[in-house]
Each structure stands twice: as C-alpha cells, then as structure tokens.
Amino acid sequence: MSNITSAGAHSVDHHGDHGHHHESFWTKYVFSQDHKMIAKQFLITGIIMAVFAMILSILFRLQLAWPDKEFPILEVFLGKWAEGGRINPEFFLALVTIHGTIMVFFVLTAGLSGTFANLLIPYQLGARDMASPFMNMLSYWFFFTACVVMISSFFVESGPASAGWTVYPPLSAIPKAISGSGLGMSLWLTSMVLFIISQILGGTNYISTILNMRTKGMSFWKMPLTIWALFLTAIVGLFSFPVLVAAVVLLIFDRSVGTSFYLSDLVVQGQILPYEGGSPVLFQHLFWFLGHPEVYIVLMPALGLTSEVISTNSRKPIFGYHAMVYSLIGISTLSFIVWGHHMFVTGMNPFLGGVFMITTLIIAVPSAVKVFNYLATLWRGNIRFTPAMLFAIGMVSFFISGGLTGLYVGNSALDINLHDTYFIVAHFHLVMGSASIFGMLCGVYHWYPKLFGRMMDEKLGYLHFWLTFIGAYMVFFPMHFMGIDGVPRRYYAFTEFPFMEKWISVNVFITWSAIIAGLGQVAFLWNFFGSIRFGKRATQNPWGANTLEWTTPVEHIHGNWPGEIPTVHRWPYDYSKPGHHEDFIPQTVPFSETMSSNLPHDFEGDQEAERIQREWELANKPQTEKETE
C-alpha cells in the first residue's frame, strides 16, 4: 500500500472540483473505472497488439516472397525458429496462427468494440459512466492478461500455437503432430478463455448501459447508428462467445484429460492413439457457431462508426436511418445461422451445405442495403475529407469489394475449389480485415479529440490513408487469382508445385506492397502517440457533429458533464437542414429553438407541437411560401 499512497502524492488532480480528490496514479491510469480511461487502455493495447501482429505478417510475407533466400538478421531475433536465416516451416504456421488470432480477437474485437463501446456508449447516450464501472475495469484487465498470455507463448520452447487461428483438432490436440500444439497451444486456449471472460463482462455492461442509462429523450430511435451497431455487436457476442468457451474447454479436456470429444481413430506418426468415438467436425460446428458471428462482431462496430463519420463529414443525414438499423438487426440475426458455410467441404452433410448456402446468400441483402445507403448519403453531400472521412470511404470500398467475393465463397458449389485457398484469404482480409481496421482507424481519427483532448495531424493522416488504402488493395487483390488457380492458404513455400511457380513473382510484389503499407503505419503511430502530448488542442466540437459526446468539455471529467446531463430532443442526423442557419443541429437543441427548419415529420405525430409549428409559420414565413403550402 505504501507505494500506492506515495504515487498518489505525485499525481496532480486536474479537476479536483468534482469530488474525486483521492485519485492516485494507480486508480487513475491503471485500475481505472472511468469509461474514457478504459477506452484508452483498450485502444492502446489494441494498437500495440496490431503492430505486433503486423510484424508477424511481414515475417511470413518475407518467407513467401523469397523462399530460397536467407535473411541472417532474422536469426538474430528469432534464434532457432529462423536457423540459417530462414523461417522454419512450423514457425511459419505459428506466425500465421498468431497473426490471425491477434488480429481477429485482440485488435478487431477488443481493440475495436472495446475502445469505442467504452468511449461512445456513455458519451453518446448521455450517461455518467457505464452501468458497472468495476466490471468494465475487470473486462480490460482480463483482456490485458489474455494478451500477455498469448504473447508469452513466443517464449515457450516448443513455440506458439501453430494449428491456424481456427485451431482445428486433431492438429491442435496432438503435440506429436506439430510442436506448437504443446505448451503453446495450452497458452492459446488459456488466453482465449480469459479473452472470452473479458468479452462477456464487457458485453453485459454495454447492453445494460444502453438499455438502462439513456438520457432523457434518448429513445431507441434517436440513438446514433454507432450505438445501434455496438449494441447489436454486444448482443451477438454475448450469445456466441460462450459457445467458444464450450469448444475450448472440451478441447482442453481432449488435450489433457484424455477424453475423445473431437478425436477418433488416430495413428500419429506410427503410434496408435487410444481416442475413440469423437468427431473433429463437432469442433468446427462449435467454433464457427462463434466464428461466423465473430466476423460481424468485428465488422458491425466499423459499420456503425463509419455511418456516423460519413454522415457528419458529408454534412448530410445518413440515408435511410431506419433501413440501416433494420439491416444491422438482420445481419445480427442471420449471422447465427450461416456458420456452416465455413464447412461445405469438411465432411458436413452435403444437404446441410445447401441450406447454409441459402442463409448465407440472404445475408448479402442487408449488406447491400447498407452499401447503397452509404452511397446515397454521399450523393449531393458537402464532403469534407478529414482523415476520418477518408478512412470511412476506404472502408466502404473494402466492404464492397470484399463483400462481393462473398457471393463466390458463400455458394457451396463454387466454394468446392475456393475453400482454403488464397481466394478466401483475399476475401476475408478485404471484407473483415481491411474494412474493420479502416473502420477502427476512422474512429480513432474522428474521436481522437474526445479521447485525448487534442487533434491528430491531418497531413500525416492523409499520408497514412493513401499508403494503407492503396497498399491493402495491392496486397489482397492479386491473391484472388492465386486462389482461383488453386493455391491453398498457409503454404510455407510455393516451390514444390510447378503450377504455383508463376505466383512467386506476384508474391514478391505483394510482400513489397505489404512492407510499404506496413511502414506507412509508422506515420500513424508517430501521429497517434506524438499528438497525445504535442497535438493541437481540440475545440469542443471540432467536426460540427450532432451527437452528445461533443457537448462535453474537452478536459475529461469524471461523470462527463459538469452539470446536468443534457436532454435529447431530436435524432442525431440533422445536418444541413433547410432553413437552419448552420449545417448541423446538435441533438440537445429543442425544436422550439429551430422553428425555421422544423419539418412536419419531426414531431412524430405530436399534434400540439404541430399546431405550434403551424402558428409560428403563419406568423413568420413570407407570404409566398405560405401559398405553396
């Protein structure tokens, strides 16, 4: 305790006027229960994990581009895993596995929803904090522990898990089959259980906050789309993550207790194993029952954030707000009945494959609606290209180009020869990877002033966007063709098959693109971390946005609003409303203050309000306009 108190003595309380005089360094920065601080913790941890996973991807891209070359410097860093300067085949699989796991779970799930759900739910709903700040803190610390456990698997002698991020048994269950399935896999599973606990704690909290703590006037249909997206994401997560726990726990039993849930009839390297009666396909069902909703857990927050950013920066209401919400609901619901499309050729009953194909292609309809609505929002807008807006437009582009290839892979007949090829790699890296990371970066650029009270440098943001946007397309677009040719994913080298040799030059191109795009991220990191200290000070509402978070003071205070929580009077998308002198009307402005711009639709059938409006119009409007009515 002594060091806690001494640390407290050093910390300076910047806003002591709010009754929290006893915040020590530990309670303020480390075990914080404040949603804004937790959001920052999630974000920074997410960014660190993203950089780590990106470096892993560059490592395996090097191997793919120059399979015959030696890179002695790798041996310096990786030791026995890159003996003679060449990455070892099993370590290559470990790189692929951990890259996927970190990106999907730690960056795009926790880093994305963790950050923005924590930041925006209380802010945009008008709440002082989350429903349960303590649970919120636990959620972060479980996540952090999961990250540490995952990274620690690199320091294990047998290496990190290397059965692919989907960890299909028996490969993940039998250490004899691959060395990464030893202690590394145990750590992977432990990390995943901790991670899921974190998600459940977080998700419960998000849902209860959204249901119970909306400010006065904030009905469901006045919530910004970000909140809708985060709300549905949390619900999807809450329903699907426990299933992964079940899958993981059974796998742990198979690995260490000797049960046979997933294992049967195995003869590994000449040794007959005693397992009998299990089915590897069972694991796939359980895994993808989470795994597919997970795709939407990753994507939906990005859709929510970009909806908000596109609307704000087009200075136009989001087109078809209700349709956007209904399509999110549609996507969430359908996401639970499409998991089988990952298993068309895995030995699942082929009839079931047909059924899953139908459900899968249905989910394309709400996705298409969302895209068209984005386009309609841009149409006749007054588009300001802030870095956030650029990333939002990039996100829409990736969502289209990656989503469209879903029509191939969701079609079970076409999937036969695309399954587990580079086509899949290209598809999900565009639609889930790039689209979501662009959604996340868009959110970071847009809400940075709210997170840190300063602005990020725009020019560096522009550089970052163009490098990343072009780079991502150059990396993933050619991969489609490799997949069409039948090159399977997770291949250590393309040297063993004559038909793959023509792709080695393409691989070199992809790797250089990846390196350049990777270096482009330094612009972001510099900008992000530099601006925390040195950025231009933010104004209260730098983007001219309508939502509630921009009514809070720039300096963070506990409880968000110094006085009373504002009341909400209108939906969040009154941008460029005709008749109003400004091109935005914040949600807190009552209709009585904007008589010149009110539309009959605004009153939702409130006769008294309509009468007042009519009277005002009769009294104030010029004669000519009255006649047209």
């Binding site: 200075r315 194909m357 399977p488």
Partner: protein, 444 residues
C-alpha cells in the same frame, strides 16, 4: 499552431537519433567483427559470401520494426553473440543499420514536405486564400485518379492474372461450376465497377466547397425498397443456380455410386496413400488399431474384399468414367484437393468422406491444350496439417481405359507376402476353417 514548433523539434530529434544510431551501428559492427574473429574466423569468412547479397531485403523489412526496437534489440544481441554459436556476418548488422538509416531519411523527407506544406498553407492564409478546401479538392482529384487507375488495375489484373489463373475444368461437374463462376464474375464485376464509380465519383463531385450546401435527404422508401428487392432477386437466382448444382454434385444416386470406380485416398503427415479396389471393385475394411509398420493403413484382412486391394503409386483414372473417391485420414485433418477437377473434400480421421466426379480430359489432351508438355494434374493438401503441409502432393493422371488397365496391372497388392504369412499365423492361432486358408493361398 503548436505543431509548427514541434516539427522543428521532431526533425532535430530524428536527425540526432539517426546519427547516433549510425554511430552506434558502426561501433557495434566493429565489435561484432572482432568477436566473430576470435570465436570462429573461418566460418565468418565462409558465410560472408552467401549472406551478404541475401540480407538486403531482410534489412528492408526489419526497418519496419519500430525504430526504438532496433536499438534495444542490438544490445542484447551483442551480449549473446560470443557464447551462442550464431555465425552472423557483421555486414548483416551494418546493412541493417543502413536500412534503418534509410528509413529515417525517408521520415526526414516526409517531415520536410510536411513543413513545406505548412508554410504553403500559411502563405495562402496570408494572401487571404482558404487553407482548408484546397486540400479537399486535392483528395477529390486523388479519388478520381485512383478510380481510373483502380478500374484499369482491375482490368489489367483480370486480363493478366486472370488468364494466368484460369484453366477450364477437366471434369463434368467442373464445367457446370465454371459456368456459374463466370456468371457470378460478370455480375459482381458490374456491381463492383458501378458502386466504385458512384463511391469515388460522388467523393469527387460533391467535395466540400465554401459555398455548397448539402441536400437534406434523409430517406426515400421507394428507392430503398428497390435496392432491397433487386439484390434479393439476383441473389435468389444465384442461390437456386448454386443449390441445384451443389445437389447434383453431392447428392449422387445409389445406382451411380455403384457404377463408379471406387478408390480410396488416405492422408497422413505428409503423404497420401491411394488404394485401388482390385478385381472385385470393393475396398476392404480397415481398423486403425491394426496399423503396424507392415500394414500402414491398418487394413483388416479378415475382410476378403481387401485381399486384392492395390496400392497406387499415383492416382491414375480412366477418362470419361465416373470415379468415387473415398477419403480418409490416419492422423489429422487433411484436404483432398484437385484444383483442375474442381474437387475438394476434407480427409477426416474416424469418418469416411466421398467425392464423385468424372474426368473428361486426359492428361495428354490437357498438355496439348495448354501447350505445356510437362503439365500434370495434381492433388494437394488444402487443410493446414503441419510443417510439411506445403508439400503433400500426389500426381493425378487421366488416361485412356487401356492405359489405365495396363498401369493397374503393375500396381502391387497391399496384401504382401509378409502380411499373408502374418495373417496365416493369426488365422491358425484362431483355428479358423480351412476354406479360408485355401482361399488365402490362391488369393492374388
């Protein structure tokens, strides 16, 4: 405006850091050099030749690692160097630092450009011009350029990579899949192009100007209904098309199953074993518990169907004859994948999976068609299965019926002399009836 002050600091900081890195790098390479000389001079010399040209790209990559890391990592590496037997040429480190320096140089250039832009904006402001909207125009034009470049890139990729990747299917059902693939490609390409023209075109056309005001247009139910229904209709067509194709491929009637040539393919780390049924056309049962060095597949020779089963050195198939492949695995998941045939099915331990198809083109014909006289169909593993995953293949040859028969006659039986003896011993021990023993003696 605080940023202007700091960009100076930044530049100075970068320069200082890069100089110090350069110095420390040189100093370090010297040190490593001597260390290497003390421990193993000859090895250092011999490795110098091959390591020097190779490390260029490596250093380029590692420059991507945050600059701070490189410095931190260098120190422990220096300490480790003498005792561990890493014979890394000092040139590697030098090059590494050169690339790090190069990266810093790029950073400095970027910082300088940023500074110039700031000055430019300031002068614009002083001359009463706007310093905000000109940047929006810049991006708008950039979007226009990337639209055109992107569309051309897509065209080029289709033309170039597409022809490189595309080979018509060599099976009956594959032809159907190909038609569906092409139809889907046409549809999605149209959608891709149109939506991107809209996306980037709107971004260009409706860029912010000081005078523009956005058009308040929150919704239009008719339009929304149209663009819900149109994709739904298109998708329904694709779904029906796909569903019936899929059923025709996977839902093979009992009779067709009987008429097909049955072969068994078993995956294990990292090889495939092919089993032909022999004269009886039936594949014998297996029991994984019987696996032994002699009997790698664990064939149960109590099942007489297994006695004439033959081991295929590769997969040879008669053309235009339906083949039913029974796919199994000994150890972990593998995937039986023949890209040219549009055939893929996972090999699952403890479960048999099947895929039935009819090859329509012989290897010779395919070679003629492609003009590549070394071309072979190949079966490969498409499911991650360990360190040798990238090289788990079996050649597939499609030949005429006569060639097939001739080849088949040369293939050895699984029930080898040794296994027969072993089996007889066990049979006698179990005092089985004589008839079996006789049959056994005359088998094959």
């Amino acid at each position: 405006m605080g940023f202007i002050k700091y960009i100076n600091l930044k530049t100075v900081f970068i320069l200082a850091l890069s100089i110090s890195m350069g110095l420390s790098g040189r100093a370090f390479s010297q040190e490593a050099d001597t260390a290497a000389r003390v421990t193993d001079t000859t090895a250092a010399v011999s490795s110098a030749g091959d390591a020097a040209p190779a490390d260029t790209a490596a250093s380029a990559d590692t420059a991507a690692v945050a600059p701070a890391v490189s410095k931190a990592a260098a120190a422990p590496a220096a300490a480790v160097e003498p005792e561990s037997k890493l014979n890394i040429d000092p040139q590697v480190y030098t090059n590494f630092f050169y690339y790090t320096l190069l990266f810093f140089l790029i950073c400095v250039v970027v910082a300088v450009i940023g500074r110039i832009l700031k000055v430019y904006e300031l002068t614009r402001k002083m001359n009463g011009l706007d310093a905000e909207y000109y940047m929006y125009s810049f991006h708008a034009y950039f979007f226009l350029v990337s639209l055109i470049a992107g569309l051309y890139g897509v065209y080029w990729s289709y033309a170039h990579h597409g022809t490189q990747a595309w080979r018509a299917a060599a099976t009956e059902h594959g032809a159907q899949i190909d038609i569906m693939f092409l139809v889907t490609t046409v549809i999605i390409t149209i959608v891709l192009v149109l939506t991107h023209i809209a996306l980037f075109g709107f971004a260009f056309k409706y860029r912010a100007t000081p005078t523009r005001k956005a058009y308040f247009y929150p919704h239009n139910n008719t339009i929304e209904k149209i663009w819900t229904i149109v994709p739904a209709v298109v998708l329904t067509i694709l779904v029906l098309f796909g569903f019936f194709t899929w059923r025709s491929i996977t839902n093979v009637s009992e009779e067709d199953q009987q008429n097909a040539l049955l072969i068994e393919v078993t995956g294990e780390q990292f090889a495939w074993t092919v089993r032909y049924p022999g004269r009886d056309g039936k594949i014998g049962e297996r029991n994984y518990k019987l696996t032994s060095p002699l009997n790698g597949l664990g064939i149960d020779f109590n099942d007489k169907n297994s006695w004439d089963d033959q081991l295929g050195s590769e997969i040879v198939l008669p053309v235009n004859k339906p083949v039913r492949v029974q796919i199994t695995s000994k150890d972990i998941l593998h995937s039986f994948f023949i890209p040219d045939f549009r055939v893929q099915m996972n090999a699952v331990p403890g479960m048999k999976t099947y895929f039935q198809f009819t090859p329509t083109i012989t290897t010779e014909e395919m070679r003629d068609k492609l003009g590549d006289y070394n071309y072979d169909f190949v079966m490969l593993c498409a499911k991650i299965c360990g360190g040798g995953h990238y090289n788990m293949q079996k050649r597939v040859r499609v030949v005429t019926e006569e060639e097939y028969q001739a080849w088949l006659n040369e293939q050895p039986y699984f029930f080898t002399e040794e296994l027969r003896k072993e089996f007889q011993v066990s049979q006698q021990a179990e005092s089985e009836n004589e008839q079996d023993a006789k049959l056994l003696a005359t088998a094959n």
